[in-house]
Each structure stands twice: as structure tokens, then as C-alpha cells.
């Protein structure tokens, strides 16, 4: 078959460009919306802990279940790829939630909620643990799939610890603005950069 060097060079450029665009579309389809959804969930959830501490657990439960359903629907409708990986990722997040519940139950004999005066401090630590477990999952996914989730996970974990250690009076607002804000900004960057 006939071909010139110029034609070969053009064809190879085309191959690399199309393959790269497909990879990015697969990796980021729907991710922008999902990051924004979870950023808003963090924002509302942590603000509820600040202003309605007694109802915050219920608010979080509704938000997390709603967020998981919205994330699954977003990935399902936006992804151009049918992939066995998608189902495995969904299972990964579901199992993570179940394991967090299991660990909380296993630890419950040692975790009695203190008297009202110290309860806020107790719940700040509990939320910091949960947030860093979720961010650890981001770190694992970042190592596994794409690097920016690694840095996002490490960054928000560091900010969570920073807030817990040095900004306790503002901890819930700190987590709402810095944690939730980081997720929203990440979603907007993903949208701007890849779409």
C-alpha cells in the first residue's frame, strides 16, 4: 500500500490527538458536575452542623444518600463509555460507606458521646475522621486513575487537620467553605480544562 512520510506523520498526529481526547472524555465525563454536587453537599452539611447541630446528622444522611444517587445518575447519563470499571467504582464508594458505618459500630463501645459541653469537640473529631477517610479514598483513586484526585485528597485532608488543630471555633464554617469550596472549584477547573 502507498503512503508518503507526510501522510504517515499526519495520520500519527491524528491517532494521538483522537486517542487523547477520548481518554480525557472518558476520565472526566460527568466528573465536573459530581465534584460540584459534593462541594455543595459539604457546604450545606457543615453549615448545618454550625447552625443546627442537633439536626445535622439527619441532614448529612439525606445529603449523602441524595449525593450518591445524583452521582450515579450523572455518571450514567454523561459517560460516553460502557465500562466494567464504572460498576466497580460505584461498588467501591458504596462499600466505603458501608465500611465507615461498620467501623463506627465496632468503635461505638469506646465512643460514648460526651456531655453537651464537650459534644461539639467530639463531633468535630468524628467529622474530621470521616472527611479524611473519604479523602483517603480520593488519594487511592488519584493513584489508581488520575493524579489530580491524589493532590485534592491530600490537600483537603491537610486543611481538615489544620482546621481541627488551629481553628476549632470556626471548624464547621472552615470545612464548609474550604472543603466544600475546594470540591466546587475542582469541578469548575475540570469543566474548564477538559470540556
Amino acid at each position: 500500500m502507498n503512503a508518503s512520510r507526510e501522510e504517515a506523520a499526519r495520520s500519527l498526529d491524528d491517532v494521538h490527538m483522537i486517542a487523547e481526547r477520548t481518554r480525557k472524555a472518558i476520565a472526566y465525563a460527568g466528573a465536573d458536575i459530581v465534584f460540584v454536587i459534593w462541594g455543595i453537599i459539604w457546604f450545606i452539611g457543615y453549615l448545618s452542623a454550625q447552625f443546627f447541630p442537633l439536626q445535622a446528622h439527619w441532614v448529612w444522611m439525606v445529603l449523602v444518600i441524595g449525593g450518591m444517587i445524583a452521582s450515579a445518575l450523572t455518571f450514567r447519563s454523561r459517560s460516553p463509555v460502557v465500562s466494567p470499571l464504572g460498576a466497580r467504582l460505584g461498588a467501591f464508594w458504596l462499600l466505603l460507606c458501608l465500611f465507615v458505618g461498620l467501623w463506627s459500630w465496632l468503635l461505638s463501645p469506646f465512643l460514648s458521646v460526651p456531655a453537651q459541653a464537650d459534644a461539639n469537640d467530639f463531633w468535630m473529631h468524628m467529622h474530621a475522621i470521616t472527611a479524611t477517610i473519604v479523602m483517603f479514598a480520593y488519594v487511592v483513586m488519584g493513584l489508581w486513575l488520575r493524579s489530580f484526585m491524589l493532590w485534592l485528597g491530600l490537600g483537603i485532608s491537610a486543611l481538615t487537620v489544620l482546621g481541627l488543630l488551629f481553628l476549632q471555633p470556626l471548624f464547621w464554617i472552615w470545612m464548609a467553605v474550604i472543603g466544600g469550596g475546594s470540591l466546587v472549584v475542582t469541578g469548575l477547573i475540570v469543566r474548564r480544562k477538559w470540556q
Binding site: A3, A9, R21, T22, I26, V82, S83
Partner: protein, 103 residues
């Protein structure tokens, strides 16, 4: 210049781009027809004709399903297609690197 190893079916520009896009998928993954059409900037009919040619060569596999009662076509690369595409790209690289044969 005659280049051994170039695949006549894959070398056509639209089919080359189809194969390039599908080559980015992992094992068992399939790409949505509508996404592929948008990515390549071709019409339904044009893409359908090229896909048929690749399917006849058993380089790709089409799967038709219904999502929310709408017909949906997904395209995946077969092992034969991946091998053929890899060989074609290697032949193009060989040509660029000066490994050529005149017949």
C-alpha cells in the same frame, strides 16, 4: 512509496480515527455511537458506513441496546481489531523512522 504493513481498511482517515478512539478504551469497554459521531465530526450515515466496513473486517463489535426506551449503539474494539490497529500504527511509525521497503 509502498509501505508493507499498512492496512487498507484502517488507513482511510475516518476509519483510522475511529480505530484510534476505540484503541483508547480498556478491555471490555464500549464507546457510545453519538459521542463518536461528535468527536469525529461526521454524519450518522457516514459513521455508520465506516463502522459497517470495520465490522465486516471483524475489527469492531457493535452492541445495540435500549437506554430509557431509546435505541443506543455502543462500539468496542475486538482483539483482532486491536492487533490490526497496532500493526498499522507501527507501520506508519516505521515509515517515519525511515524503515521502508520499495517494491
Amino acid at each position: 512509496m509502498i509501505v508493507p504493513g499498512l492496512n487498507e481498511i484502517i488507513h482511510q482517515p475516518v476509519r483510522l480515527r475511529i480505530m484510534a478512539s476505540l484503541s483508547a478504551l480498556g478491555p471490555g469497554e464500549r464507546l457510545d455511537f453519538t459521542y463518536l459521531r461528535t468527536l469525529l465530526g461526521v454524519t450518522d450515515g457516514n459513521l455508520g458506513a465506516h463502522l459497517q466496513k470495520l465490522e465486516e473486517a471483524r475489527y469492531i463489535k457493535l452492541t445495540k441496546t435500549f437506554v430509557n426506551r431509546k435505541p443506543c449503539t455502543h462500539i468496542g474494539l475486538t482483539a483482532k481489531g486491536r492487533a490490526a490497529f497496532t500493526a498499522h500504527v507501527a507501520a506508519l511509525q516505521g515509515l517515519l523512522e525511515g524503515v521502508e521497503s520499495r517494491q
